[in-house]
């Protein structure tokens, strides 16, 4: 069985077996769930279908979430990018798709938690935008999802994927690192470059707190998914250019754990500080629940 616990383990396995990281992860899952390669790939392909549908459903809808705080930004950005823009098509699409999926989540639509519902826009946003830009076959996007899952497994092992334990760095930070890793592989980068992308992406979101207004997965979550998507692209491009992170990926993950542990509970999904307790945040909360905490 392909045993690994760290990013370095994964890279070593890939180099030793002359395989991509996604192949290592597919083999891992086949053995772990005692099933066939076809079934494992099919299950991931179905996840991709859900992601694509969420983008389609989200990008034209102006419907609001249950609370009314979010909804319609994806459609607005889609209109804007038809004629305007500074960032270029791939980045704009990543923003559009990430907003779309996160808005679908906020209005009780169907999404894939990747790794969580709060960060569900980043991976589809980045992978679908890059998939279109590189004109890769669908299987290569599915492969990217396996690579992303490998990164998530390692982070889950040594840090956390839950906002309640590690703040938003654990959710959007992890999702961004996962997406960056997948992009490097989709663009035919080396396993070592995948590792660098993980380190670069996660490093930049270390310390990000989880302070959602009224305790809901909406503000700042929806827009933060767009930012998380763009920074995954930045990390992937840096890594593909051969730029290295001074701090290696596994040490960044350990730092994420340490920072999460040091983070006060009031900034870990409890909505007791930060954006949730701004004057505007409190007004929204009072309106929704009839009283402040």
């Amino acid at each position: 069985m392909n045993r690994f616990s760290t990013v370095i383990d994964l890279i070593a396995l890939a180099n030793k077996q002359q395989q991509s990281l996604s192949e290592i992860l597919i083999d891992y899952e086949v053995e772990k769930s005692r099933t066939t390669r076809d079934k494992v790939c099919q299950a991931m392909d179905q996840c991709l279908t859900v992601m694509i549908k969420a983008v389609e459903n989200g990008k034209n809808s102006r419907e609001k979430s249950v609370s009314g705080m979010v909804g319609g930004d994806a459609a607005q950005f889609g209109e804007y990018m038809k004629v305007n823009g500074l960032l270029g098509t791939v980045t704009q699409k990543a923003i559009l798709y990430a907003l779309s999926v996160s808005e679908v989540n906020a209005r009780m639509g169907r999404i894939v938690a990747s790794p969580t519902a709060g960060s569900c826009g980043i991976l589809p946003g980045v992978l679908l935008a890059v998939g279109e830009a590189l004109a890769v076959p669908r299987e290569k996007i599915v492969a990217g999802l396996f690579t992303a899952a490998g990164v998530g497994l390692v982070i889950n092992e040594h840090a956390s994927l839950a906002g309640a334990s590690g703040g938003c760095q654990a959710e959007c930070g992890s999702a961004s690192a996962m997406a960056a890793a997948a992009v490097v592989e989709m663009a035919d980068g080396t396993p070592d470059q995948v590792g660098q992308a993980i380190a670069l992406a996660l490093k930049n979101l270390l310390g990000l707190v989880c302070d959602p207004v009224a305790g809901l997965v909406e503000v700042p979550c929806v827009k933060r998914n767009a930012f998380g998507a763009v920074q995954a692209l930045v990390a992937a491009e840096l890594a593909l250019a051969g730029i290295k992170s001074v701090i290696p990926p596994d040490e960044v993950i350990t730092a994420a754990y340490e920072i999460g542990s040091l983070m006060p509970q009031s900034l870990r999904e409890t909505s007791e500080a930060g954006l949730a307790k701004t004057p505007t945040g409190q007004v929204i909360e009072a309106k929704l629940y009839g009283q402040t905490k």
């Binding site: 616990s5 992860l25 891992y28 899952e29 772990k32 769930s33 494992v40 299950a43 991931m44 179905q46 996840c47 859900v50 979430s65 249950v66 609370s67 679908v104 989540n105 906020a106 209005r107 009780m108 639509g109 169907r110 999404i111 894939v112 938690a113 990747s114 790794p115 969580t116 519902a117 709060g118 569900c120 991976l123 999802l145 396996f146 992303a148 899952a149 490998g150 998530g152 497994l153 889950n156 092992e157 994927l161 839950a162 309640a164 996962m178 009224a214 305790g215 809901l216 997965v217 909406e218 929704l288 629940y289 905490k293």
Partner: protein, 220 residues
Amino acid sequence: MKGVFDIIGPVMIGPSSSHTAGATRLGKLARAILGEAPCQVIVKLHGSFAKTYRGHGTDKAIAAGLLGFSSDDERIPAALTIASAAGMKIEFVKDDFADVHPNTACLEMVGKSGRKATVMGSSIGGGSITVTKINGYQVELTGEYATLITIHEDRPGVVALVTQVLAQGDINVAFMRVSRLERGAEALMILESDEPISHQAYDKVANIPMVKSAMLVPPI
């Protein structure tokens, strides 16, 4: 280490794995424990569930679970309407159970045949749940395994009789817990298994004289 689909997944209806997906699973597991369609339910919500349930659609999610829907079912947003059209009366009340997980709900159910069950459980993150109380008994039940629940006389030998039936059916017990309210009266046992538990095995367990009632709960 977890599996690939614990990271990319679950496929779910948003917005929150704990407040929406987990809440649906809790409702669905409660319905399975009742063993029939509920027609009257009082849902007591605690902590973060009580505070944010409207914004997260926790009420709709629990109703969907009580209707037997899964956490990726696109009918979840309409579940309150569907439940009321199906004659299922659900009342949501805020409560405080003191020292429990912040995402906790207690479901007091009456089924179509008049059968009653009270299930308390918590949504512990990522869509995972733990049922902590059934009809007053302390339990620990995840809904991830095929589960057999018995309410039986608190006497020597009953546990052995039940596990013997499972052994004969080549069913491996993954987790097992026995609890009771007072010594020598009634006890409750929960057996979680890797394999599906056959109806044949269930019937044999239900027919053990000291077993007062048995419930077969499939994985949720």
